[in-house]
Symmetry: D2
Subunit: 346 residues, 4 copies
């Protein structure tokens, strides 16, 4: 099935993925994780809420954690629009198209429009937040991986084509997409508005579910410093997958899990995509192969564990995938290699 086409004259101007609201059972534990390991800055906090941002960010917060006694869920994902009037255009557009949308009050944010997208994912749009000085040169105050800025989130959905069409209609472009080799079944689509390949990623699975948030770190050394700090403050086992290098997109990454199991990807700065002639790249997904450029596939937990979105009903896709997990890979792996591709191609 063909991937949707981008509408380059969208009804309003979303500029980027920008923030996220997650539930947390123990705010003190989460605070330690995000400040000591990820290296986020506490923007504000009270007994029930913790607001965090990356060291480079001027926006007041990019991650909001809300105290919960139940299952820790994702309350919503959030995006920036370019200016105030885009919020009104968005409201009109959603009203015209039967998309539930209403303005709500959110602390430290300007006018905020909350809508529910075609998959049932709750989303927030804002044009402004309280502006803060960037803090990225205050190296002597930085902790952990010194995460610079919010980059993207990945959402599991039972129909990646339908989910994608909702956003290409709003002007999102596709950088890469994953197709099961020998078929026309698309199982992953990477969408962006800003000048790198990712703002919003859809993966084929029951959903909508929140899979992970990506924060950009400055270098491999910062990523590793984050892991060292994890080890030093009792989060040694937070690492789920990596360090590694992605097969498509090619970013260096590591996936870590917070005290509630929410997943963060630390990734290095990505390539730049701006030109219209920079067309979507199709990445074939061979059965039983590792998607990474080196190292291991992710463990089963990476494929199967994700947070429900508050109020969203989980829908199962007609066909569940059968990904090559680390567990399966290890069970069948042989360490006796053949010759290198240098010889094969010679």
């Amino acid at each position: 099935m063909a991937i949707p086409q981008t509408n380059f004259n969208p009804p309003f101007n979303i500029t980027r993925a920008s923030h996220l609201v997650l539930g947390a059972q123990d705010l003190a534990a989460s605070r330690d994780f995000y400040t000591e390991v990820v290296g986020l800055i506490v923007a504000d906090e009270n007994a029930n809420t913790l607001w965090l941002r990356g060291v480079e960010e001027r926006q007041h917060h990019s991650l909001t954690l809300k105290k919960t006694t139940g299952e820790p869920q994702a309350e919503c994902i959030g995006m920036h629009v370019f200016e105030e009037e885009d919020l009104d255009k968005a409201k009109s557009h959603f009203d015209r198209n039967g998309v539930p949308a209403k303005f709500i009050e959110v602390p430290h944010q300007g006018r905020t429009l909350r809508y529910t997208d075609v998959m049932g994912t709750p989303v927030e749009l804002v044009a402004t937040m309280k502006s803060q000085p960037r803090n990225h040169v205050a190296v002597n105050h930085h902790k952990g991986a010194r995460a610079l800025r919010f980059d993207h989130y990945q959402v599991l959905v039972p129909d990646v084509i339908a989910a994608t069409k909702f956003y290409t209609d709003l002007g999102f472009r596709i950088s890469d997409y994953l197709v099961v080799e020998g078929t026309d079944i698309t199982v992953g689509i990477f969408l962006h508005k800003k000048d790198n390949p990712w703002d919003l990623v859809f993966l084929h699975r029951q959903g909508p579910q929140f899979h992970h948030v990506g924060y950009v770190v400055e270098s491999m050394f910062d990523l590793i410093r984050g892991l060292d700090c994890a080890g030093n403050v009792g989060f040694a086992e937070c690492i789920e997958h990596g360090p590694g290098r992605h097969g498509h997109g090619h970013a260096y990454y590591c996936y870590i899990r917070d005290p509630d199991g929410h997943r963060t990807e630390l990734l290095l700065p990505a390539i730049q995509i701006t030109d219209r002639y920079d067309e979507p790249v199709m990445c074939p997904l061979e059965a039983n192969t590792v998607g990474n450029r080196w190292g291991f596939p992710p463990p089963k937990s990476w494929f199967e564990e994700a947070a429900h979105f508050t109020g969203a009903k989980i829908v199962h896709p007609p066909h569940e995938g059968d990904p090559l997990t680390l567990e399966k890979y290890l069970a069948t792996k042989s360490w006796r290699r053949g010759p290198s591709t240098l010889r094969k191609s010679a």
Copy 2:
């Protein structure tokens, strides 16, 4: 059981672990692996033998690969003594103590004394090799991980105390040793002569068997470049474990397997140990815990696969260990964390 004491007036002067001879079924495949991934330089080669060294090394070779049609084994490990007369002192010492030892001819090496140690491991001693210019600044000619120099080897033995005593009597010092927590059972001992913690490592398992050779790389950047190159030349799946950081010793590392399954550790420069008051450090090994500072334990293959030494008889220890493999770890792992140790200790 107490660890052996170092004899600081040894009968002759071994200066460091320095080289290794391994069997290989396909020299062309091995050549690609060690030059394109590890980044070694080809010192010499003919139809049946390949001599390699690190980019910093002045010694002619630190790794010799010999063509074999059978099971790829380890022919011997090798060490440097300080000067020629140390070889004669060594021969006398071994003769006096009933250690089989004889002088042999080895291409590109000075006088070479081959002996069999108390565990049955074949070992070579040399005082000189053909001297070469260092090549570590020729960055534009370097490949892969640009491995700088031979660092150490790890040998599996059924009795780590007896194996260690053989070498502490020859002047080796112990940097760290692993003791099963709550017992006096020592299951790993790290020995060194040069100014860092490792020349020779013994691990408790059936043996003698060759487990891995360690090469020092300059930085994490070089280690990762090696993995990128592995991916690019068809050795993507050579990575067995890592990148990670050791729990004891604390070196950053990655384990990779060559086309015959021989294991190489790429590791970053280690700490310096020179002072006599720098006493051996005991590292308790808790049951079912991960020995690393962050990330995963090694897979089962790391614990169980190793090369036989040519001509050596495998002896089983009275008790085999039951290490926490990656496979077991994944099967029981929960991603819901408690608070950080910052909170626990507060």
Copy 3:
């Protein structure tokens, strides 16, 4: 004097600074410099022209070198517009406003509109170039600093406000600007269209002159590898300034000079700027202070040497500046320090 305001509804859509055409007396020498030190890929070449691009770029070329027997000049700077019709809109806009502009034929480029801006700088606009596969993962083929992509150029002009107004009218935003402390004299303005702080930088000096082109490298290690390679191929003295860290913008950088004296800045990935509420930042320029966060000011050559643009008449500003050069700094520097600011502020 107030800095110009951005026109957020520009007559056509420029997306980014994208390329450059420079003169070179010895194409072979330049080829060595840009491939072995900067790490660019040769896109195409003939006896009189060399086309180069960064390892990440899909555009055919970002740097064109043309054989010259005279003084090596800059032929033009180049920008991408979003789509073909933007070129027609640009032509109409320029015609309406008396800006000289005409379509020209350029190898490997789509339709190309050449215009002369208010300062006399020749500029090219293109919507398309021949598209190439990205090459950034082919690490084993990369050389030197492995420059990823074209980032920006700096142009010296006698009137930074007038130069800036021309481009803010076309939709460029200002990230930072330099004001002589205690005055309202603006001496440097940093403009951008893409999501980082720089596409086009104007510095107060006689002009228009081409000062430097900036290429993004992946990490500090790539930058340093470029310098190591420079040393190894006979360009050891190409370094003019750095490695250092900028005071404004905060990028890590190094300035190097090609065989004709043309200046390249190698810089690490910069911060992200997308939000409308991310307002221009005023950076006061104190007399006789170093603009860097650490290290030395640039030498006199950095301030005074630049290439003429072909056909452009040099205009002198009413007041030349008197920057703190490395030469002056060294002549007056004392190495006896006072206390740290930690103490001063305590």
Copy 4:
């Protein structure tokens, strides 16, 4: 004139350069510099003395700063011997040879023998210091460049051959030496006992004077973090030279000056030297050339400024050198290059 030969059976066993005592006018300022920029740990302190060590060191201190109201001098350099009896052997040796030597009491140190070497430099020998746990994995507590360990010191002397002979007689080996090209005049000698090229460096100039102390940092990333921290706490101008890469020895380095002007070299881990057949390398010093592999020569201050040793009389050499300073280099430099050596050699 030939360089001295190493006595491989020295009268006692020095193992390495290990510590240093410097005067400081403002201990609080120095404390900030060494903890926030260099990243040393405070081992102990009182109103008049500050003891510091690197994060990896088990020895109690490697740098002692003593409050002074006069000119900040160097009180002595210090070395470790292998065991207590080496101190007695040293005393006898010095007594036999007319070298002034006496045992003194030094806080936090075992028995300490203070002697004055042939150039008049005061030197301390110790076998033990209070032993401390290594701290190099406590990354979350590290500051600045996270200096790992003391490496070497450089001493200016009017007769490098005589100074060297004193130490080769004590078992020091020569790694490299600098000879004025076309002559047999040796102007610099690099000596070591431990397994890397440096413990003690002599440079031809009036002396004895203390030129710099070298601390090893883990990676270029740490070196640069130190410089960033310098900028953040008011020591932006502490950098005297670098980052750069040495021409001989090839270490990456940066020279910084403390609040009293004392010079520290931050350097990356060096090559390993252990083998007897690893002979001294002669490095010819061409007139008016830069000794570095890339970048600039050091400024005049680096060549001319150094601290007097307490009580030592300065002796001038018969001929002062005329080194190529940064100032001279900049005055004559041309940025128009010829072809690369690739072409020259082709």
